[in-house]
Symmetry: C2
Subunit: 233 residues, 2 copies
Amino acid sequence: MKKAVILLSGGLDSTTLLAVAQSEGYDIHALSFNYGQRHKVELESAQRVAKYFDVTKHLVIDINLREIGGSALTAEIEVPKGREQITDNSTDREIPVSYVPARNAIFLSFALAWAETLEAADIFIGANAIDYSGYPDCRPEYIEAFEKMARLATRAGSEGKRTLRIQAPLLRCSKKEIIQKGMALGVDYGATHSCYDPGPGGMACGRCDACLLRLKGFAEAGIDDPLPYHGKG
Amino acid sequence: MKKAVILLSGGLDSTTLLAVAQSEGYDIHALSFNYGQRHKVELESAQRVAKYFDVTKHLVIDINLREIGGSALTAEIEVPKGREQITDNSTDREIPVSYVPARNAIFLSFALAWAETLEAADIFIGANAIDYSGYPDCRPEYIEAFEKMARLATRAGSEGKRTLRIQAPLLRCSKKEIIQKGMALGVDYGATHSCYDPGPGGMACGRCDACLLRLKGFAEAGIDDPLPYHGKG
């Protein structure tokens, strides 16, 4: 079985990603980060998802990105709410304050290290550049540049033993398509967590960018989101 | 003053690097990692060096690379000793077990995150591809690939605000040249630490790759290394 490292936040995209990779026959090594995120509750979802899919290993790495800050998710900056324009797919969107500086570079670099140790050639990331927040490190050109760097960075790449691949199969899917893909693979979206600014008990706000994009996806798919939202009626 | 993030291990190369960057007028933000390295004592050198050069900020980030392992520096793998061939500059060298999977990708990614938050355009790394251990992530093509990735990864790069540069001014210097450069800039090499496998009190072994390369540099420069070595005379 081909080993793969999967970046798993416990959100809708990365959970679907895990289901996709597993359906393709990969031996799943899931990687999550306790990085000082405001929505640390997502790690409970990551644990549930990893258990549900019976992954070979789930590693949670502690890194304190609050020491660096610079984001509404890792510093005392308010999470924007009610930005309905996030769902209109303009290509020209501004990078919002929920962007965490170099987060995907850091996460993918740890995945690269683990892949090297596991002798895995495949790293999966749930990056998406359609129904997304406009983060620079979710764009196709970014993923390609990381892959090039990764191939030069490692023993495997340097010695020509393995051709490392950064796989982002959801990159060009709409949120609706991601949900449909996941439903077909038996994903329980009630076990996932997307909200950036959860309330008491970890309940989703329903108004941050992550909630708005998620709700739009379910609405377009014609499916009820199984999660409760405290900001909704 | 232009801000710069400098990767500082407390070793000979990164200390010289810091002196070079400071002499060029950069406002120094030094970044070190407590990564589970066998030679954690190097962090004391990093603190001494940061203090000596009176840097604006010295940040030490905790990341436990022992959870990933795969190296003589982060797992129970013996550090090779007496590999005199390390000093013969063959271009065809094998990657030794002291190579830490994706370490420079991880370190540079954190530097990138910090640079983004500081609004700095310059990241300095003491990578060297002449008198070195043959690590893939010290080669010029690797540094270039990381720079390309970094420019796409970030808000600054994406919005065209800053052109991020990964500066590796020691990349093509011999160890002798690095030492001469540092001496001219007032570096006290007695405050640095290079050994991968220090003995009691942090004393250098004199026989690991890092010690052999360092000793070769001092010998070629015709200067006495101020450090004591427990494996020597």
